[in-house]
């Protein structure tokens, strides 16, 4: 699996006797960690003390622990490696809860190290004591408390093994102060690749693969839906081979959007609520759906009772509990997407489905006329839209640019109009939809992938939820290109109020500060774009600039994300405007 680090052999580093804090740092390095995001405090001070003259780790001091979590998520999603965070007990740990929940939902590998009060104070309401394991257990893959220094190396090894293998996820190591200051005799770090109660590499059933191949070979209207698990498995190229071999159209969930290049002729766009018309119409007409590393979220399926009524569904997932969770499947293939696709490919026969593909083209025509035209082809004097900005940046930015979004209209518009050109190029908070995710995540992505351009797309609401991270961007000169869609509204909520609450804009208008002045205070280059005529040049200045750059762009507050399948409606009930729906005969 791609998450596996370069270091795989057992490394044995024998030294006489070191503190738990130093053992922790050495074990992190032994697990392949080069960067940690963090924030110090009382209960983790011994670790920060050891870090002071430890040269093998880069520590990025964030401005708020939530920022550290999202930065580590951005780092993990851009690199495929485990993101690492170090914070103090109590408030420090509590500030990480949102990020843990987000990482759990989006299967992002994270190790969070929290300081904890001394073992003998545990349970006594000691200063800054929060029962971190109890709080985080339901939102982590594994949460474990270490009370003795001697247990640290193994706990760290287990943490990285669990976070990165199988279905990845966040892990918490809560380290009591005793374990940090206690001594580790004959320190030695051994990788863990076996835990009796945990089997991350399921045996894939050849019979299921054969059955799937047979269904695919006899299909006349097949469709692939690729999800975040394709990227996680590093199966992007295999996905493309499968699609090309049997001429199968590919849709993606929000989390799977960069699994295939957007300009590939077989890539049909996003599935679900704000997805492509063709994909949602085809879902309910397909005879075989091949769902790869996706989990049939309600934003994807709409009404599950009427979802894909004609289709035999083949579901490939590494997590057995995803099968039949929301949608009944016909063939469940339990395994890693890359391994399954490797086994499946030779059994799939070349085919062509030109009639079927025509459906997508026809739907796209209607979508282009009704939606793309309004979003991308406005005349000079009309206010700007998020879609046209994302589209222009996509056309101007270099190959492999990573788009990191916040949550809301900015997220949907970026997903729809930013064209991914390489794997791991759309980083977004999908399952939890955490406003404030974007800016720190972009920061982490830029730290993890210094060779790629990283663009942050956020709304004026979400930007202000983690705006303090501008301080981190300044301090480390992290070259994030920030695009703030300034519509003076909590746009996404405004859209729902417009459509479903009679335009009663309860608590959604925002009075915003001068974002350019704020950026200036952080010594970050910035400009305001209020006219379409200035947009392209401003984008070029931003992309050419060496270092972070902020564009504060005036956006039409009345613009809405379409197409839209309202929550719980049939997936092919597609609104193209507030009062027209798509019908395909």
């Amino acid at each position: 699996m791609s998450q596996e680090h370069a270091i795989k052999q057992t490394t044995i580093d024998k030294t006489t006797s070191i503190t738990g804090a130093e053992a922790l740092l050495r074990s992190l390095v032994a697990e392949g960690v080069d960067t940690v995001f963090g924030y110090p405090g009382g209960a983790i001070l011994p670790v920060y003390n050891a870090l002071y003259d430890f040269k093998d780790l880069r520590h990025i001091l964030v401005r708020h622990e939530q920022g550290a979590m999202h930065a580590a998520q951005g780092y993990a999603r851009a690199t495929g490696r485990v993101g690492t965070v170090i914070v103090t007990s109590g408030p420090g740990a509590a500030n990480c809860v949102t990020g843990l929940s987000d990482a759990m939902m989006d299967s992002t590998p994270i190790v969070l190290i929290t300081g904890q009060v001394g073992a003998r104070y545990l349970g006594s309401d000691a200063f800054q004591e929060t029962d971190v394991v109890a709080v985080t257990q339901p939102i982590t893959k594994w949460a474990y408390q270490v009370r003795r220094a001697a247990d640290l190396p193994e706990a760290v090894a287990k943490a990285y093994y669990i976070a990165s293998t199988g279905r990845p996820g966040p892990v918490v190591l809560d380290i009591a102060k005793d374990a940090q200051v206690g001594m580790v005799e004959n320190y030695c770090h051994r990788h863990v690749n076996f835990i009796r109660s945990y089997n991350p590499e399921p045996e894939t059933s050849p019979a299921a693969i054969a059955e799937a191949a047979q269904l695919i070979n006899s299909a006349s209207k097949p469709m692939i839906i690729a999800g975040g698990g394709v990227t996680g498995a590093g199966a992007d190229a295999l996905l493309q081979s499968l699609a090309e071999k049997a001429e199968i159209p590919v849709a993606a969930t929000l989390m799977g959007m960069s699994a295939m290049p957007a300009d590939h002729p077989l890539f049909m766009g996003m599935a679900g609520m704000h997805g492509a018309v063709g994909v949602n119409v085809a879902t309910n007409r397909a005879d075989v759906i091949i769902a790869i590393g996706m989990r049939f979220d309600d934003r994807v399926t709409g009404n599950t009772a009427t979802y894909a009524p004609q289709a035999k569904i083949i579901h490939i997932d590494i997590d057995r509990s995803e099968f039949n969770k929301t949608v009944a499947v016909d063939v469940a293939i339990h395994g890693d997407a890359a391994k399954v696709l490797e086994a499946l490919l030779p059994q799939v026969k070349p085919a062509s489905h030109s009639d079927w593909l025509r459906l997508f083209a026809e739907c796209h025509q209607a979508e282009d006329a009704e939606v793309y035209s309004r979003e991308l082809r406005r005349s000079g004097s009309e206010p700007m839209t998020m879609g046209e900005v994302a589209d222009k940046i996509s056309a101007t930015a270099p190959m492999g640019t990573i788009a990191v979004t916040d949550v809301g209209q900015n997220q949907m518009m970026t997903a729809r109009y930013f064209r991914c050109s390489a794997p791991r190029s759309l980083i977004t908070s999908g399952g939890l939809g955490t406003m404030g995710f974007g800016l720190p995540a972009a920061m982490g992505a830029a730290v993890g992938a210094p060779d790629r351009t990283v663009c942050y797309f956020g709304g004026d609401g979400g930007f202000q939820m983690t705006i303090q991270e501008l301080g981190t961007i300044m301090q480390y000169n992290i070259p994030v290109k920030m695009i703030v869609f300034n519509n003076s509204f909590l746009g996404n909520v405004r859209q729902w109020q417009q459509l479903f609450f009679n335009g009663r804009f309860s608590q959604t208008p925002l009075l915003n500060p001068d974002f350019v002045a704020i950026a200036a205070a952080y010594n970050i280059a910035a400009e305001r774009v209020a006219d379409r005529a200035d947009l392209q040049a401003a984008i070029e200045r931003m992309l050419d600039h060496d270092g972070p750059y902020l564009l504060d762009i005036a956006i039409d507050p009345t613009d809405m994300v379409f197409p839209m399948t309202p929550a719980g409606r049939d997936v092919d009930f597609i609104m193209l405007t507030p009062d027209t729906t798509y019908s395909h005969d």
């Binding site: 394991v133 109890a134 257990q137 339901p138 893959k141 594994w142 949460a143 408390q145 669990i162 690749n193 076996f194 835990i195 009796r196 109660s197 945990y198 089997n199 997590d319 057995r320 509990s321 099968f323 039949n324 969770k325």
Partner: protein, 185 residues
């Protein structure tokens, strides 16, 4: 008439003995609004492997999802889902009844005999009766003793073993040992 999809299910969870496991397990039930009828924790026949036995009322599709989620807990080794047909099960109950009243009725011996119960302890003040059996049998004895003024009553959770000739946990652990050997190579 269609059978109600709601049934009593017994879930047997084999796990490592780790702090906080019961918490994680019960969370999975509560998230789905499932009421845990009873829980029994004990050692199992496999060395170092713990066993939680939980009964709850639900339908099979829901329970299959619960099992899937339970198996995702890192420390959980294996989970089995059973209905009463698949298992041999017992519960144990203790009844504390005033001795005087029992003796006055002259029925003590009949009650003990007919319910297959036994007397654990008898003092001038109270008598402790023990009954092992199925839930309805324990309830039947309860009903019978009610008129003598039961002072204390307690019923254990279900203890059970499966009636399958194959020990799935042993097979599973053997497979894991093979996997460990491979991982060491």
């Amino acid at each position: 008439m269609t059978e109600s999809p709601y049934k009593l299910f017994t879930v047997i969870i084999y796990s490592e003995n780790s702090v906080g496991l019961l918490n994680q397990v019960s969370n999975i039930f509560t998230r789905r609004c499932l009421n845990i009828e009873d829980v029994t924790a004990s050692l199992s026949s496999a060395p170092g492997v713990h066993k939680l036995t939980i009964t709850t009322e639900s339908d099979r599709p829901t329970m299959e999802k619960v099992v899937g989620q339970l198996e995702k807990i890192v420390e959980v080794i294996k989970v089995g889902l059973y209905t009463d047909d698949d298992i041999i099960y017992q519960e144990i109950a203790l009844y504390k009844v005033p001795t005087m009243e029992l003796l006055q009725s002259h029925e003590l011996e009949t009650i003990i005999r007919s319910h297959g119960a036994r007397i654990l302890e008898m003092t001038p003040e109270y008598t402790i009766i023990e009954k092992t059996g199925h839930r309805w049998e324990i309830e039947a004895l309860f009903d019978c003793l009610k008129r003598y003024d039961i002072r204390q009553f307690v019923r254990s959770g279900r203890v059970c073993v499966t009636n399958s000739p194959v020990e799935h946990i042993d097979l599973f652990l053997e497979k894991q040992r093979q996997r460990q050997k491979q991982s060491e190579q």
